[in-house]
C-alpha cells in the first residue's frame, strides 16, 4: 500500500539536476505530498523564478515514481511561501561542503542596501580569510568566492531569505 511516507522515501532518490550531490529533499523544494485514491500529488517550489531546472525536476519526479509502478502522478508548482535557503537540510549543507560548494551563511538583514560582506569559510581548508569575486555565479543560486589562504576558487550557495 502506497502511503505518503513511502512517496517521501522514493523522492530521496531524485537528485537536483544542477547540484547532483543534493537530493530535492535536501534542497527543501518539495513542499507537500498528498494521496487521494491512486492519485499522487507532489507540490514543489522553485529556488529562483527563472530556475531552468524546474521542468526537468518535475519530469524526474514522475519518472522516479513510475519506476515504483506509481503512474498517476501530478506535480504542481507553488510560489508562496517563497523558498528560503533555511530549508536546505543539515545533511544537505554537509554534502555541499564536501562537494566544494560553501553552504549559505546567515546574513544580516537583506533589506539593508549596503552591509559588511558575509564571511564565507573556504570549503577546502576552512579558512575564514576569503573574498567575494562576484555576486553571481554559474547558476542562479550561487556566487563566486576565492580563498586567500589556499587560493581555491569556489562557489558559494548564496543565502536567500
Amino acid at each position: 500500500m502506497v502511503n505518503e511516507s513511502v512517496i517521501w522515501n522514493y523522492l530521496t532518490e531524485v537528485a537536483d539536476p544542477e547540484i547532483p550531490v543534493l537530493t530535492i529533499l535536501d534542497l527543501g523544494i518539495v513542499r507537500k505530498v498528498s494521496i487521494e485514491g491512486d492519485h499522487v500529488q507532489v507540490t514543489i517550489t522553485p529556488t529562483y523564478s527563472g530556475c531552468p531546472a524546474m521542468k526537468l525536476i518535475e519530469d524526474e519526479i514522475i519518472a522516479k515514481l513510475r519506476e515504483y509502478k506509481i503512474d498517476n502522478v501530478d506535480v504542481d508548482l507553488v510560489l508562496s511561501p517563497a523558498w528560503s535557503t533555511d530549508w536546505i537540510s543539515e545533511e544537505g549543507r554537509d554534502k555541499l561542503r564536501e562537494y566544494g560548494i560553501a553552504p549559505p551563511e546567515d546574513e544580516v538583514d537583506k533589506s539593508v542596501l549596503f552591509s559588511e560582506p558575509t564571511v564565507v569559510p573556504c570549503p577546502k581548508c576552512q579558512s575564514r580569510n576569503t573574498r567575494m569575486i562576484s555576486l553571481f555565479g554559474s547558476t542562479a543560486c550561487k556566487a563566486q568566492y576565492q580563498c586567500n589562504e589556499c587560493l581555491e576558487p569556489f562557489d558559494y550557495f548564496k543565502c536567500l531569505k
Binding site: 529562483y48 531552468p52 510560489l79 508562496s80 537583506k110 553571481f136 542562479a140
Partner: protein, 249 residues
C-alpha cells in the same frame, strides 16, 4: 477583470523586455563575472515574466499561455515602460537603467506582497528576494563608476542624463492603476515613489552624480506608445515563433 489583465501585463512586460535586453549582453560582457551577472539577472526577470504572463493569460481566458503572449503580440499591445526598452549602450548605461528599475521594483514588490490578489502577492514575495540582490549589484556599480575615474564619472553621468527622463513613467497613474489601487490590488504609487526617491538620492550622492536640470519627462509605454527601439527587440525575440508557429524545444 479587464483592468486586472491590463495591470498584470504591465508588470510582466517590464520583466520580459528588460530580461531580453540584458540577455543581449550574453557573451559581450566587459568581464566574465559581469557577463554572468547580467544573464543571471536576465534569467530571474524572464522567470518572473513567465509567471506573470501565465497569470495574465488565465485572466484573459482565451486559452493562451505565457509564450503566446510573449511571442505573438504586436508592439502596440506591449505595456512595458519606455525605460526598459532603451538600448544597452555601454556597461554604465546598462547599470544606470538597471539601478533606476531595481530601485523602483524593490518598494513595489514589498508593497505588492500585501496585494488582495493572492497570485500577485505570491509572485511579489518570490520576486522581491531576487530584486533586492539585483539592486545591491546595480547600486554598487553606479557608485563605483560615478565615484571612480574621471572618465567613468563622466560617462555614467551622461547615462544618467539620458535615462532620467524615463523615470517619471515608473509611477504612471491612469484609470487602470487607480482602479487597482482602490481594489487593494496595486500598491499606492505615491508611497513607492517616495521610497524610490530615498534610494536614488542616497546612491547618487555616494556616486557623486547629479540629477539633470532638464526635467522633461517621457511616457507612453503603459499606453502601448513605444520608442522606435521596441520593434527591433520584438523582431529579435519573436523571430522563431513567427517563422515556426508553435515551435517547442
Amino acid at each position: 477583470m479587464e483592468h486586472l489583465f491590463e495591470y498584470v501585463i504591465r508588470i510582466g512586460d517590464d520583466s520580459l523586455i528588460l530580461g531580453q535586453r540584458l540577455a543581449e549582453w550574453c557573451g559581450h560582457g566587459p568581464i566574465l563575472e559581469e557577463d554572468i551577472a547580467m544573464t543571471n539577472i536576465s534569467l530571474d526577470l524572464i522567470g518572473q515574466a513567465t509567471t506573470l504572463l501565465d497569470y495574465a493569460a488565465k485572466i484573459e481566458g482565451k486559452g493562451k499561455n505565457a509564450d503566446q503572449l510573449a511571442f505573438l503580440r504586436f508592439d502596440k499591445d506591449y505595456r512595458n515602460l519606455l525605460l526598459v526598452e532603451q538600448p544597452n549602450g555601454d556597461f554604465g548605461m546598462t547599470m544606470m537603467r538597471q539601478f533606476f528599475f531595481d530601485a523602483f521594483r524593490k518598494p513595489f514588490f514589498e508593497a505588492l506582497q500585501h496585494s488582495k490578489d493572492e497570485q500577485l502577492s505570491a509572485i511579489a514575495e518570490k520576486s522581491l528576494k531576487e530584486t533586492r540582490y539585483h539592486l545591491k549589484h546595480s547600486s554598487e556599480w553606479v557608485i563605483r563608476l560615478g565615484d571612480g575615474t574621471e572618465e567613468s564619472h563622466q560617462r555614467i553621468q551622461e547615462s544618467l542624463d539620458a535615462l532620467y527622463r524615463y523615470t517619471d513613467e515608473l509611477f504612471y497613474s491612469d484609470e487602470v492603476q487607480k482602479a487597482m489601487e482602490s481594489a487593494g490590488i496595486a500598491p499606492k504609487m505615491d508611497d513607492v515613489r517616495s521610497e524610490w526617491n530615498k534610494t536614488v538620492d542616497y546612491v547618487l550622492n555616494e556616486a557623486t552624480l547629479k540629477i539633470p536640470d532638464n526635467q522633461w519627462k517621457f511616457e507612453g509605454g503603459r499606453r502601448g506608445m513605444h520608442s522606435e527601439h521596441l520593434g527591433y527587440i520584438l523582431a529579435d525575440m519573436q523571430y522563431m515563433q513567427r517563422a515556426y508557429p508553435g515551435l517547442e524545444w
